[in-house]
């Protein structure tokens, strides 16, 4: 049966369009219940025995939630206790329209077999489809559609069970809807009512999101914030330039300050400063907001004050608020560097996600309302209602925000999940993964279904089309304990005296076909994340550690890049091919180094390694001549106890000749491939660039060198590399490393991009005109795309539309860049956490360090032994601060009588400050030079209350 759906729509250009869609109604849509004999459903989803103990419904029943219940109470619906739910198509469509995240979550719940969620396509069912009536709003129509479908179910089930006990229950929070439904003889409950009636599950009640009615009850009547403007006013305001649209970023150190980054291109101001409670007007970090710019005379400068919102209780805090705000202003007005300032007039899009953090229990014993302190300091504290406060104290929990009424100081939220005891390694790892948005759930069944069947072997067809390189003496060189080996190398002498060098990369794109669930999952994860003692794979383990991993003495599929080189490492011929290899050895860097150095060993693998090493040295020399930078950052490795998994020792990573040997050939392969795919696909090659930093970035480096009477040239990468090489001070061997660490901080981030969308391809750090990532497809998705492009270029594989679409590829690149950045942050956070664990076990340590930066009121110190950075503050809340003089030219800081320069050697004592369990930190205090009143005595007494923080 055919119906047409008609609606009118306004187009962007202001036109009016009448849109007509054909709508087919069917009579073969089943109810999905086990009890129903009439419907010919082969695998009914809804159980016959749909029992859940409830005071209200003693009979088995199916639940039908309406749209708002799904949108707001998704946390409840996701609970394993809640099963046998009918999600109507009307509801699903509305949810999709209103919130993409909730839609994804409800879809996941529907796919979960254990949950017994059934989607009923009521809009296509002949008996439940309704047309919008005259004078009926779209919402009313949908509500009616839900009621009609619920009624249909009630009648249908009654017929199927001969008026048996099975019922349907409609959940709605809309009063009018509820009345109408009751009028039609349906069983209807409000969501709260129903959840509270469930026997034996009090924790579910905590997860109820607060509805607007409830919110009014629990907040004072005094208005704290100006009202947000309606969206229509905001839109016209943005159009005529009265408001600016941007993303709100809260200040990490000062909860009363934030910045809005304006999206519009060519805007005069692209950053707007917001200061004060009223002006922030309930914006939460990452929200898209509309701001109004103040006239110039009200502009202020960003304050450098550290302010933390640590009022013990909520409501009485208002007086303090104005006080702190005044303080803020007086500090600000001193400075002359005024910035565009404004206020938030409305929120365009909330970007709330569930936040990790801890509960700060209310001081009143029996209270059910508590404040929640998120781990991310940029997020305000959230008020939640819970009856299990006593059990949640000391636990890491997740909380979602429900709303922020204008008469409440804090946003209201509800409890979502308990992650575990704070300080616990598993819990903290979970927290840092969640906070860095690293997807780390186990791979879904859909993803796993695309894995090859085991036992796996190379098929006949593959043998036919691939180059057989099994006879070559290929070996891999990796860090110890590496199970995802993506690259292997070989080198042999040819008859004409030239050398043949091969880089063999795991052929991951053979296993991950474009567009399937496995591919989508990998694309979304973007990268494998390495934490201390834990790896979050981008592809399932079967691939990452087995089928793709180029382990020794097994046949593996590879993508090979083979060069013919002369003894001077000049490339004579480049050749790419899909191949089959059989690695003869998986070595660690140290093992490889030993073989090269051991003159008694003369087997084929060793000879091959020596050849590679010789060529690598030439290649490296040539690269450095061209101006490639050798940068440095202190990296540490933990020795992890095999039993307790606690770090027992810590050392900085050591670099061997073989490290740079492998690196050199990977660079060469990447550059060769980049050139090849760019030649073939100039519009859609996925490349990696490293923009040269703006000259001002180097200011600090130049100043620092100058303080030691050295000159650093930063006109080009080459000049920088040379002057870094020449910068050395006698009796201070670590100075050069320090300079290089500093230079690293001046650099820009390298990013992926699509060649059709950009015209600057240069890779500054490597001094290469073109670059890409080809050599680690197991752990980077970018490499998979590059593999596919290369395979298409040499007719080894077929192409697909998305690969050639530069806009799609550009979108992919931004996801990859985001994931890489987040992975890096997560990695650093993990190192920081393990460093803390380490110092927890070691107690207080005295160590030597160097001053890396000099700030207005603090110095930042690097401890080379641990690769650890910490801050020593000279200002303190509790006691009078010493006399400080800061000179920006040096930069130097004079504390009382002593002047601190960059790179000065100091002695500090390091300990773990566990007073705040959520933000445990490494505490550093000065021992040497001795400054009375500032430094602390050497013995291992507890240092004074300095407030250092881990700067990572």
């Amino acid at each position: 049966m055919l119906k047409s759906k008609t609606f009118v729509k306004k187009t962007r250009s202001g036109g009016v369009l009448k849109i007509v869609r054909e709508h087919y109604l069917r009579d073969d849509i089943w109810c999905g219940s086990e009890v129903c004999k009439e419907c010919k459903d082969e695998a009914p989803v809804l159980q016959e025995d749909a029992c859940i103990e409830s005071n209200l419904c003693s009979y088995p029943h199916y639940l039908i939630p309406d749209t708002n219940v799904v949108l707001h109470q998704i946390d409840i619906l996701e609970d394993p206790l809640i099963r046998n739910i009918i999600i109507l198509q009307t509801v699903l469509q509305e949810v999709r329209h209103r919130s993409a995240t909730v839609y994804k979550r409800i879809k996941d719940a529907i796919h979960d077999k254990e949950k017994h969620f059934y989607t009923f396509t009521n809009e296509h069912h002949r008996e439940t489809f309704i047309e919008r009536e005259q004078g009926e709003s779209a919402n009313d129509r949908n509500d009616r559609a839900i009621r009609v479908a619920a009624k249909w179910y009630a009648d249908h089930l009654a017929k199927a069970t001969d008026n048996g006990p099975l019922k349907v229950v409609l959940l709605t929070n809309d009063r009018a809807n509820k009345e109408k439904a009751e009028h039609h003889g349906l069983i209807v409950y409000r969501c709260e009512e129903y959840i509270k009636s469930l026997i034996g599950n009090p924790e579910l009640v905590d997860r109820l999101a607060l509805t607007p009615d409830d919110q009014n009850e629990i907040t004072g009547s005094k208005l704290l914030f100006p009202e947000h403007l309606p969206l229509s006013r905001i839109q016209t305001g943005i159009k005529n330039g009265m408001f600016l649209q941007g993303t709100f970023h809260a200040n990490r150190d000062n909860y009363l300050e934030g910045t809005v980054f304006i999206h519009r291109e060519g805007a005069v101001t692209n950053e707007v400063l917001l200061q004060g409670f009223q002006n922030l007007n309930r914006a939460v970090h990452q929200d898209v907001v509309a701001v109004e710019l103040f006239p110039k005379e009200r502009w202020v400068a960003p304050s450098s004050v550290v302010l933390q919102d640590d009022n013990p209780d909520d409501e009485d805090a208002e007086e303090d608020e104005t006080e702190t705000e005044n303080k803020l202003k007086s500090v600000a007005s001193e400075s002359s560097a005024l910035k565009p300032t404004g206020r938030v007039v409305g929120i365009i899009k909330r970007n709330w996600r569930p936040f990790c953090g801890m509960l700060s229990q209310s001081q009143i014993k029996e209270a059910t309302r508590h404040l929640f302190t998120p781990a991310d300091r940029r997020i305000p504290r959230i008020r939640i209602e819970t009856r299990q406060a006593a059990t949640l104290v000391g636990q890491r929990i997740m909380v979602a925000i429900d709303g922020w009424p204008k008469n409440s100081r804090y946003p209201n939220g509800h409890f979502v999940k308990n992650l575990g005891t704070a300080g616990d390694k598993e819990t903290e790892t979970e927290v840092l993964l969640l906070e860095h948005d690293v997807p780390h759930q186990p791979f879904s069944q859909a993803v796993l279904s695309f894995l090859p069947k085991m036992p796996w072997s190379i098929s006949e067809e593959e043998l036919k089309v691939r180059a057989d390189l099994r006879h070559l003496f290929v070996c891999s060189v990796d860090p110890p304990g590496c199970t995802d080996i993506d690259d292997a190398l070989h080198c042999r002498e040819l008859e004409n005296g030239n050398l043949e060098v091969g880089v063999h990369i795991a052929d991951v794109s053979h296993f991950i076909r474009p567009g399937n669930a496995l591919d989508q999952e990998a694309a979304s994860r973007g990268t494998t994340v390495y934490l201390c003692g834990k790896r979050i794979d981008m592809v399932p383990e079967l691939l990452s550690s087995n089928l793709c991993s180029l382990r020794s003495n097994v046949e593996r599929l590879a993508f090979s890049c083979i060069w013919e080189m002369n003894n001077n490492a000049e490339i004579i011929k480049t050749h790419f091919t899909k191949s089959i290899i059989n690695s003869k050895a998986s070595l660690t860097y140290a093992e490889a180094q030993m073989r090269i150095d051991d003159t008694t060993m003369n087997d084929d693998i060793t000879k091959s390694l020596r050849g590679l090493n010789k060529l690598a040295k030439i290649l490296k020399g040539r690269r450095i001549d061209k101006g490639a930078l050798t940068l440095s950052s202190p990296e540490v490795r933990f020795h992890i106890d095999s039993e307790t998994h606690d770090p027992i020792d810590l050392q900085t990573k050591e670099l061997m000749e073989t490290n740079s040997m492998v690196e050199e050939f990977m660079l060469l392969a990447n550059i060769s491939v980049a050139q090849k795919i760019y030649d073939e696909f100039s519009e859609c090659a996925l490349l990696r660039k490293h923009p040269s930093p703006p000259p001002s970035n180097y200011d600090i480096l130049i100043k620092a060198a100058k303080s030691r009477d050295l000159e650093i040239h930063t006109d080009s990468a080459k000049a920088l590399a040379d002057s870094l090489n020449n910068a050395a001070i006698e009796r201070f061997p670590y100075f050069n490393t320090l300079l290089r660490i500093l230079a690293t901080r001046c650099m820009m981030q390298a990013v992926y991009f699509c060649s059709g969308m950009d015209n600057d391809f240069h890779h500054y750090g490597l001094a290469s005109p073109i670059y890409t990532h080809f050599t680690s497809p197991i752990r980077r998705y970018s490499d998979i795309i590059v593999h596919r492009l290369l395979a298409v270029a040499m007719n080894a594989d077929s192409t697909y539309p998305d690969l050639m679409d530069k806009h799609k590829q550009s979108a992919l690149c931004s996801n990859l860049n985001y994931r890489h950045k987040m992975a890096q942050y997560a990695q650093r956070a993990s190192v920081a956490f393990h460093t803390q664990l380490f110092f927890k076990n070691r107690g207080i340590i005295n160590e030597e360090g160097f001053i890396l930066f000099v700030r207005k009121n603090a110095i930042i110190i690097l401890i080379p032994k641990f690769g650890l950075e910490g801050t020593v503050f000279f200002e303190n809340k509790d006691k009078p601060s010493p006399h400080l003089t800061f000179d920006t030219e040096g930069p130097t800081l004079k504390v009382e009588e002593h002047t601190f320069h960059m790179f000065d050697k100091v002695k500090v004592t390091i300990s773990l400050d566990a007073s705040n369990i959520q933000h445990q930190r490494i505490r550093m205090a000065l021992i040497e030079p001795v400054i009375p009143g500032v430094s602390v005595p050497v013995p291992e007494s507890e240092p004074e209350a300095k407030k250092p923080k881990l700067d990572r």
């Binding site: 729509k9 306004k10 202001g14 036109g15 009016v16 009448k18 709003s137």
Partner: protein, 291 residues
């Protein structure tokens, strides 16, 4: 235009018949052939009608779009016409064959309908000088069996009657910026007053007499015809002579009188029919193109 070959003998027979007030299909000189009208036949237009007159089949669709009013009349909307001579109608229309006729027809339709005596163009104004509704009237010839103008005009009147223009209102913010807002309810729409929309009556001069609604054969016997657009009150809004032959003033007068008479009697049953059809509402069984 589609033409039939008529032999000399046939011509004489036909002309003698007309002289005696008898036509080949048994009609009298001022009779129309059997006519069928259905409105709302194309769902993605704002108004549509299909008419078959004898074997002449015409489909008319009206689309309303927001445009800028003409500078000379800032407070009026306007109509645009496009006639598509489908090759379905006759093989001669294939390729660009129907183009010339199409342009001619649309020019005439523009003259007849796009004036404030026919349609209340003021009601199409949204915001004087800035926005107005433009009604795009698309005419599709499906089959030609003579008397295209009359069929088209009746179909246009029916389609305009059927047209529902979405209601808009203009919201103004403090700075004077104007924004067109669309009603959320698809039933909330504006109707046109089609009372004064004229119908075209074509009179064919055959011998010394004239006939209305000439078939192709009758057309072949005629040297000139007069096109008269008449409102329901009998007011003539447009007269145009077609064909190569000449007409003497006396017969023009006679023909105009006849046209008025016929036109008046055409409007009343048409309106009655359209209203009756509409009263059936949504439950009406649609005939469409296959009926």
């Amino acid at each position: 235009m589609a033409a039939v070959q008529v032999s000399e003998a046939e011509k004489v027979y036909l002309m003698h018949g007309v002289r005696d007030g008898l036509r080949l299909d048994g009609r009298r000189c001022e009779d129309y052939r059997h006519m069928e009208i259905e409105t709302d036949v194309v769902s993605n237009t704002d108004g549509s009608a299909k008419i078959s007159l004898g074997h002449t089949d015409v489909l008319v669709g009206v689309k309303a779009e927001i445009g800028k009013p003409k500078p000379t009349v800032p407070d009026e909307g306007y109509l645009e016409f496009f006639v598509d001579c489908s090759a379905n109608a006759t093989p001669e229309f294939e390729g660009r064959g129907g183009e010339e006729l199409g342009v001619e027809l649309s020019n005439i339709l523009y003259k007849v309908f796009n004036n404030r005596h026919s349609v209340d163009l003021r009601s199409l104004c949204i915001c004087p000088g800035e926005n107005c509704w433009v009604l795009y009237v698309d005419v599709l010839l499906l089959q030609c069996d003579g008397n295209l103008f009359d069929a088209i005009s009746i179909a246009i009147k029916a389609a305009l009657f059927n047209t529902r223009i979405p209601k808009v209102h203009i919201s103004e913010d403090e700075e004077g910026g104007k924004e067109i807002e669309l009603s959320d309810d698809p039933y909330d729409c504006m109707r046109l007053n089609v009372e004064n929309v004229p119908c075209i009556v074509t009179l064919c001069k055959i011998g010394h007499r004239h006939v209305v609604d000439a078939t192709l054969q009758e057309k072949a016997c005629s040297v000139a015809s007069l096109l008269i657009s008449v409102t329901h009150k009998g007011m003539v809004t447009c007269v145009r002579k077609m064909g190569r032959g000449s007409l003497d003033p006396e017969s023009i007068f006679e023909m105009t009188e006849a046209g008025k008479r016929v036109g008046k009697t055409l409007h009343a049953p048409l309106m009655e029919l359209l209203q009756k059809e509409e009263s059936l509402g949504k439950k009406r069984q649609k005939v469409g193109f296959l009926g």
